[in-house]
Symmetry: C2
Subunit: 363 residues, 2 copies
Amino acid sequence: MVDRPIDTRERDVIARIERARARPRAFRDPLITTAHGAGGKATRHLVESLLVPTLAGGTLAALDDCGRVRIGEVALAMTTDSFVVRPLRFPGGSIGELAVNGTVNDLAMAGAAPLAMTLSLVLEEGLDSEVLRAEIAAVAAAARAAGVEIVSGDTKVVGRGQADGMYLCTTGIGLIDPRAALDPGGARAGDRILVSGSIAEHGIAVMLARGEFELGAAVESDTCSLWPAVAALLDACPQGLRTLRDPTRGGVASVLNELAAASQTAMVAHEDLIPVARAVGGACELLGIDPMYVACEGRLVAIVAPDAAAAALAALRGVPGCEGSCEIGVVEAEPRAMALVETSFGSRRVMDMLVGDPLPRIC
Amino acid sequence: MVDRPIDTRERDVIARIERARARPRAFRDPLITTAHGAGGKATRHLVESLLVPTLAGGTLAALDDCGRVRIGEVALAMTTDSFVVRPLRFPGGSIGELAVNGTVNDLAMAGAAPLAMTLSLVLEEGLDSEVLRAEIAAVAAAARAAGVEIVSGDTKVVGRGQADGMYLCTTGIGLIDPRAALDPGGARAGDRILVSGSIAEHGIAVMLARGEFELGAAVESDTCSLWPAVAALLDACPQGLRTLRDPTRGGVASVLNELAAASQTAMVAHEDLIPVARAVGGACELLGIDPMYVACEGRLVAIVAPDAAAAALAALRGVPGCEGSCEIGVVEAEPRAMALVETSFGSRRVMDMLVGDPLPRIC
């Protein structure tokens, strides 16, 4: 793949995006909206202009999904996530399973083997105890599958109408693999963009499970632990592995935007190479959503050096659940800090981060 | 203080409690109620009969406020808490300050110096951004005061009416002080029971802040970091320090019950020695609540060996905020696994754990 020219229209789009990004970033939104939790521009604005400057510490400022804590010779990753998915159960998973895998995967993306996890419950008064029992069992099963121990917990109950059944918060610590030299800004022109399987399945499975759409498509969430995939990559090509991300809220498009911004490169995905299951593609078309913006919960995006791509792909494909891994694009030098998609006709369009929240409460 | 006889009526009460405790503990409550989050019997039943058996791991089974994680030579404590206090601000504190201190204090009670913390936000759509800004500032200020860094975070937004403004979840890790040989079951007959100041202030401050009662009493929450107090105790009498607890939900009475059960001793508090501020005592009387069951958020209960009590008290009183530390009772051999209060007339009554939730959502 070589750099293709970008047409005049796209140049205008890029110029507009660059002007918007250059504007002062004081947080002036008067009210919190669902967009602030969607993982796109509004979330980033809240995090960058209010949360990080106020809480400012060295590792938080990196805006990574994980914090890093060094204790003598021990390098730990630490990450937290709240889960508010609706409905609590959906094809392929449930909030309990998601809460474990979501946190395990944030650790894995930092190159950290999951070590221990906490579980905090906010329960709504009147919740059926069997619903709680099922989710605690799902947490336990997912923790066993991921090889992580739940070491502490907390339970709060709020009144009727003050939560939607239950919200979970999981926090994990993991041991950073000494071979992992991952850097969100580590992508260089020529690097390859890999994904570990077909995308957008989690978000679509949850949307369909709400029954708000008259779609009978059978789509299952991809939720699973990604540590085995990361361990395989670290075994196969530790040197060539630049960075890892799990494309959750905001999907692959948002991840490519973040990585492009961090490395000041262009992430160019090829539309024809992006793996989307037929049922997912159909549902996305009917819902009017680009699958590149839809959350996965068991997929990773890896940026790898050109000479490591074949070994990385082979390693990924050997991991159960990652057989569908493929290369979807390349990193280019220009336009800086942009994610683009190239169509089969050779034209390119910018995939900016979203402002709104097309799929609320999918994790 | 010596063992006093227990009258026949109290013997009946003790026998009834012992029979109830001996019953099989399968979790059969059909619905979750606020009592399951109140820190008393219902919470303990949920934790012991559903959560721990399902999630069972070595350290979780200890039912401590902290998990313990060993990495080579490093011994870590790890703890999590969700905060759902209403209102978000109250005299003496706010949800953001509480979220930091609550987690720091759980670490401190495990003898662990706070090291790093995560912050997860569940925000309600429509929340005033200034309210969020104030709480993030409160988190930052409390973290600075406690000497702990916020290393990672998460933000979710739920729809209007699906949360009550905001819920926070903080998780902390801390380095266990090698001098801390704390054991929840470590109390022995003759040990002294200390508290680090006047009790019940946090719970009453929050209740009064709701304005549901026509009480003009000026009561401020005691929320603060307890690590300086623990560090002082470890400096002064590491050998004689049996165990530490912060009496949050369920208050001092619940803590004494837990410690009595863990050590199979009797915890006997002397009514006249229990420090209760006049305004707090008055409010408790009007509300019909025993201050021994009302939450503190900046007090600790320490069980210390008899010969360490004087040094421990002197050390505590030297810590800002703990000047009012005092001895409130002694550990006796019988009746096992019971907490009792002795009145100024010399009679004793059992303080069992509560079943219901007299003060919902105070943390």
